[in-house]
């Protein structure tokens, strides 16, 4: 049962539109991540956060932005969508701290198509 929720599950929009992909988790995790994944391809980290008011860019250059105003919420925004943004976007979270980093919990993803 998912404790990390992404909406919408699927989205088809036209070029130039502004969109926000939502991600919420109920586990109280400090660390949250956004990954981009094309079908059958590897995961690419585009943004991450270690807590409220903390956001960092990941390995893959992205034109998206994120915010972390509340622990449980980590939305991703595209100001002007382009066909090159067509992909699956996966949100994940994990617990902070401890000697061994805890596993990632993933949401079910948002599949975005920009026409």
């Amino acid at each position: 049962e998912a404790d990390i929720y992404q909406t919408p599950r699927y989205l088809v929009i036209g070029t130039g539109k502004k969109i926000t992909l939502e991600c919420s988790q109920t586990m109280g995790h400090d660390k949250m991540y956004w990954y981009q994944q094309d079908p059958g391809m590897e995961l690419h980290l585009i943004h991450y956060s270690y807590g409220v008011n903390s956001t960092e860019k990941g390995d893959l250059s992205s034109e998206s932005t994120v915010s972390r105003i509340r622990t449980e919420h980590f939305p991703l925004t595209l100001e002007s969508a382009r066909p090159s943004h067509t992909s699956q976007y996966l949100c994940a979270s994990r617990k902070q701290g401890g000697a061994y980093n805890s596993p990632l919990h993933f949401g079910n993803g948002t599949r975005l198509t920009v026409t």
């Binding site: 660390k31 991540y33 059958g40 995961l43 270690y50 996966l90 980093n101 990632l104 919990h105």
Partner: protein, 110 residues
């Protein structure tokens, strides 16, 4: 440069076969290695390994870590068509980074 390499990239087997998936890594300040199974949607967690030589087992799946040789294997015995998926390996480090491999696509045919 930190990296995680999985092999093979893809594998096709018949039901009932046993498969071994490999994950090798080169990272600074290793903390843990994780295996995930990804079908059509989000990856689901399988195992987290932190100590060498201790096998983790769940049903027909098992995994072990070798911190000296910097690799892990994921074994699946008596494969079923439902095992068809991409299997992802990820490594976490002391700097709180998480590195994913490209995954192994396993296809099990009846």
């Amino acid at each position: 440069e930190d990296k995680v390499v999985q092999s093979p990239l893809s594998l096709v087997v018949h039901e009932g076969d046993t498969v071994t998936l490999n994950c090798s890594y080169e990272v600074t300040n290793f903390r843990s290695l994780l295996w995930y199974k990804q079908e059509k949607k989000a990856p689901t967690f399988l195992f987290m390994l932190t100590s060498s030589g201790i096998e983790k087992k769940s049903g027909r799946l098992s995994s072990i870590l070798d911190k000296k040789e910097l690799f892990s294997i994921l074994n699946i015995t008596a494969t079923q068509t439902g095992d068809s998926a991409i299997y992802l390996c990820a490594v976490t480090t002391g700097a709180n980074n998480l590195f994913f491999g490209t995954g192994t696509r396993l296809t099990v045919i009846p």
